[in-house]
């Protein structure tokens, strides 16, 4: 039996309850609507045939590539931001986080101005020297997705690195463990929860990418038309398939969220 605490601040005024309930309703109603519109008997058929299945396959492949790029380049960047002291670090961090708040379509325009074949900063060079064209290609989809996903990974990993107590790495050093081995056997292992969370969020963001993708890579069926683009188009011609695909994306996000609940819903031991 525990005594009931009467903390100041724990007495909730009625208007707070009303506001909270309205906010909840606002968030949940569209999801309920979506679930209600899904034609359950036809979901499997809708997502395994025609443009829908093409889009799902493309989304899966490109989002995985984009996540790998975000991981391979985001981890070193997070390390530098978290552990190297230099002038202008906070400005650099703000720049790295910019794609998180930038309208994705602006990101797409920016990507065009850098990697566009005819008038991009390096796009022409890439084409002339290596014959690589990113625009209107699946590789362009990967670039657009990685561009928006990378900051999410960097943010999660950087805060993870900052929260590691230096005593573990210090004591490893005093035990004769050099910097490289220390990274693989101590730092990375302590970082694992943040790394997994960062990868999951980056992947979910890449999977849902719309604006930058359609602007930079276009909307070519079977080539650059990812699932979110397909949903948008199918809504007119084949709403049943659009709802089925939406449900698949929703389900994936729920799975990611449930897997990450300990980190993201504040349930930490």
């Amino acid at each position: 039996m525990s005594a009931r605490e009467r903390r100041i601040g724990a007495e909730t005024p009625r208007f707070v309850w009303v506001g909270a309930l309205l906010a909840l309703l606002f968030l949940m109603l569209p999801l309920v609507g979506l679930l209600k519109r899904v034609a359950w008997s036809g979901v499997l058929g809708s997502v395994t045939s025609g443009p829908a299945s093409e889009a799902l396959r493309l989304s899966l492949v490109t989002s995985i590539f984009a996540t790998v790029i975000a991981l391979v380049f985001g981890l070193p960047l997070a390390w530098v931001l978290a552990r190297v002291e230099f002038v202008g670090r906070s400005i650099l961090r703000a720049l790295v986080m910019l794609p998180m708040v930038l309208p994705p379509v602006v990101g797409g325009v920016a990507l065009l101005s850098a990697y566009g074949r005819s008038n991009g900063l390096v796009g022409g060079l890439l084409y002339d020297m290596f014959g690589v064209q990113l625009t209107f290609s699946p590789a362009g989809v990967v670039i657009a997705e990685a561009f928006v996903a990378l900051p999410f990974l960097v943010m999660s990993v950087e805060s993870g690195l900052r929260s590691i107590d230096p005593r573990f790495e210090e004591s490893a050093a005093t035990m004769g463990v050099g910097p490289v081995r220390r990274f693989w056997t101590v730092t990375l292992r302590l970082l694992l929860p943040s790394l997994v969370a960062g990868v999951a969020v980056a992947w979910a963001r890449a999977l849902g990418e719309f604006g930058a993708t359609i602007t930079f890579a276009g909307n070519i069926e079977g080539r650059t038309q990812t699932t979110p683009l397909a949903v948008y188009l199918l809504l007119e011609n084949d709403p049943e398939a659009a709802y089925a695909l939406s449900f698949v994306l929703l389900a994936v996000c729920v799975v990611v969220l449930v897997a990450m609940r300990d980190r993201w819903l504040g349930r930490r031991s």
């Binding site: 004591s171 490893a172 005093t174 035990m175 004769g176 463990v177 050099g178």
Partner: protein, 226 residues
């Protein structure tokens, strides 16, 4: 083997000065809280670098800012036990103790056997398969001691190694430590508040004392008291 340490470092408000020479012996480091005992160990370990002066082990310079020499901690052949709980949380007690042996290049199987033998000797074999979260503070400190002293080393640095142990455990572990320290070469330092540690384990004593400072802040000076 002897360690010669003449130098100075400023850490925030605290200035630590040292002028000591230590041979093949066990030396207590004593002094009030916050006076810089742990920092002194970290300087010898290479976790902090000197601002001026030098730190030498026999003929090898470990730290000398005027010569731009600094040997990093992992190359100093240390046996160090921190006062803080630094048992790796993702490894069992046994794998924690095997960790420095693995780092020295020993294969996994041999290192695990050696770790078990060392735990047996210390009387904590029963803890081998437990994770750090399943251990008490005192048990973790014992694991840390066995881990810190399992390898070959040139310098031993122990920072309040018995702080989580109760009185009976303390005398038992002190006895074990006396034996282990006799086996190891080189200078050995123990930071402690306990006079019994100083009397039963140590040959000499270095006291950190505060001296008046011409500037603001604290100036701690390490001097040999016996």
């Amino acid at each position: 083997m002897s360690l010669v340490f003449r130098g100075l470092v400023r850490l925030g408000d605290l200035t630590i000065e040292s002028d000591v020479s230590v041979g093949n012996e066990v030396v207590a480091i004593t002094g009030a809280n916050g006076i810089g005992k742990t920092s002194l160990l970290k300087l010898i370990a290479g976790l902090i670098s000197l601002e001026s002066g030098s730190l030498k082990m026999d003929d090898e310079v470990l730290d000398d800012p005027s010569e731009n020499i600094f040997v990093p901690a992992h190359q100093r052949k240390l046996a160090m036990v921190s006062q803080f709980d630094d048992i790796l949380p993702f490894l069992t007690a046994q794998d924690n103790i095997a960790f420095p042996l693995r780092a020295a290049g020993m294969d996994r199987a041999t290192s695990r056997v050696r770790a078990i033998e060392a735990m047996e000797k210390h009387g904590i074999r029963a803890l081998a398969q437990l994770k750090p979260t399943q251990l008490s503070g005192g048990q973790r400190q014992r694991v840390g001691l066995v881990r810190g002293l399992i390898g070959e080393s040139k310098i031993v640095l122990l920072d309040e190694p018995f702080s989580y142990l109760d009185e009976s455990a303390r005398s038992e572990v002190r006895y074990w430590l006396r034996g282990r320290l006799d086996e190891l070469p080189g200078p050995k330092f123990i930071v402690t508040h306990d006079r019994q540690d100083v009397e039963q384990l140590c040959d000499r004593e270095i006291a950190l004392e505060q001296r008046p400072n011409q500037h603001s802040g604290l100036r701690s000076v390490a001097t040999i008291v016996r």
